[in-house]
């Protein structure tokens, strides 16, 4: 086997503007799709707990349908399928001076629709995990349903939602590579294009694989800090700032996970 280490390292040290732009596109796509997916997930997740049977059914149907369709198929359907059928054709738009290509929009929306179905289940589970006594206590203090939801249910559900949410974002960072098939110039697509001209595919794919690994590793640390902050109520050390949270997260301590009975 000949692995061109010099080339591999050169690509890491000096990736070039097209690749860096693609990296930006990968991260932006993941973040936007995740945020949009979270919004869909909150609406559909709460919808599944609605008092109205019609809303409950509609939301359950959404989850059932979307979870049964591969993301890749969904992306191609949105971008090429709908255009072919004359239903809808994405076109490039400019937003705050930034050009959003048609394929980028389709990718974000497709990934968000997909993520929304999974987020809905995560949100529903989180809300159902909030103890009934907490809601009753809030009601007995004269809080309105809106206040009970915003001040008690959502903050408490967040503690349950964040770990699986972070897990999904980890997935999302890598799932963005599927957008290459509809022509989004993200890191995988750009890598494929370069490898066609250099024939050093293995080295280039190694670089892109390492890149995904670094992205998920960064995210894992951020997630750990967020989770540490959310567990402030059960940690002995003070975690009021992000810095303290990072220190607590990075310090292995057997006592942090302990709960008082």
């Amino acid at each position: 086997m000949t692995f061109d280490w010099a080339f591999f390292i050169e690509r890491i040290v000096n990736p070039g503007t097209p690749y860096l732009n693609a990296l930006g596109r990968t991260v932006t796509m993941a973040v936007l799709a995740m945020l949009l997916g979270l919004v869909i997930g909150l609406i559909v997740g709460f919808g599944r707990l609605s008092r109205f049977a019609l809303i409950r059914s509609a939301c359950a149907f959404y989850v059932w349908l979307i979870r049964g369709i591969p993301v890749l198929v969904l992306l191609v359907m949105l971008f090429s399928g709908m255009a072919a059928a004359g239903l809808f054709r994405f076109s490039d738009i400019e937003f705050l001076g930034i050009k959003l290509t048609a394929s980028f929009q389709a990718a974000v929306i497709g990934l968000a629709i997909h993520e929304g179905a999974y987020m809905a289940e995560i949100v529903r589970n989180g809300v159902q995990a909030v103890a009934r006594g907490q809601v009753e206590a809030a009601k007995s203090l004269g809080m309105s349903s809106w206040q009970v939801n915003w001040r008690i249910v959502i903050p408490q559900a967040t503690r349950v939602i964040v770990p699986p949410f972070g897990n999904d974002f980890n997935h999302m960072l890598k799932t963005t590579s599927l957008a290459s098939v509809i022509g989004v110039q993200e890191i995988f697509q750009v890598t494929e294009a370069i490898s066609a001209t250099t024939f050093k595919s293995f080295e280039l794919l190694s670089v892109v694989a390492l890149n995904y690994l670094v992205l998920t590793a960064i995210w894992n640390t951020i997630q750990g800090v967020i989770e540490t902050r959310l567990r402030a109520h059960e940690i002995d050390r003070q975690v009021r700032t992000w810095w303290q949270s990072l220190v607590v997260y990075l310090t292995p301590s057997p006592s942090t996970g302990e709960r008082r009975a």
Binding site: S140, G142, M143, Q156, H233
Partner: protein, 258 residues
Amino acid sequence: MSGGERRLLVRAVGVRKLFGQTEVLRGVDLEVQRGEVLCIIGPSGSGKSTFLRCINQLETYQGGKIFVDDELIGYEEAGGRLRPLTNRQVVLQRRRIGMVFQQFNLFWHMTVLENIIEAPVRVLGQTVVQARDNAMRLLERVGLGAKADAYPMKLSGGQQQRAAIARALAMSPELMLFDEPTSALDPETTGEVLAVISELASTGMTMIIVTHEMGFARQVADRVVLMEEGQICHQASPEQFFGDQAPARLKTFLSTIH
């Protein structure tokens, strides 16, 4: 409030409650005067807690009427018929009634102080400074002045329950409901919670207390009520209630728990 002359605070007439096919309350009639401390005792499943929960509408009732300060709870009369109140109206009625739960139910994601100022700030519109001053006074009163910034999970059961009492008091309720406030506590901490409730009773707060603590009921209550199978079957002053002249069925019940 103009009701200085009105002595009656709570009036329940023939209250009925169904859980599916099961009739949990089968016509409860009860009156509570302002400043009175009423203890409800009875076997489990007799409907004591359910009745308490109907008063502040954590449960709905299907028959009879409950009035607090002459205001019908949970319903309004429209064209000779009773119509359930809207959520907004329910919320307004609950503000005047404080409740203390068996499982404390402190908001675990907030510190003790945050727990106490939450409703005064959000519901009553007090400023944070105002609410905090009042909260600190209440915490001193229940002996938790040093625990204001602690999270509930770091407190003992007795401390949590005392904080929960302070939280309910922060809304300046006219009526306090206690749903087995010491049933989840061990004997050592039960005493400290009962002491706080006794102190509150001595200030003239109107209270309805569901309890299994007979000694406490005897000491703190103005009147003791026995509930059985969804009805009130005996009520008397504590002296009479626990005395030698009590009816046979009451003696039977009391002997089962001692």
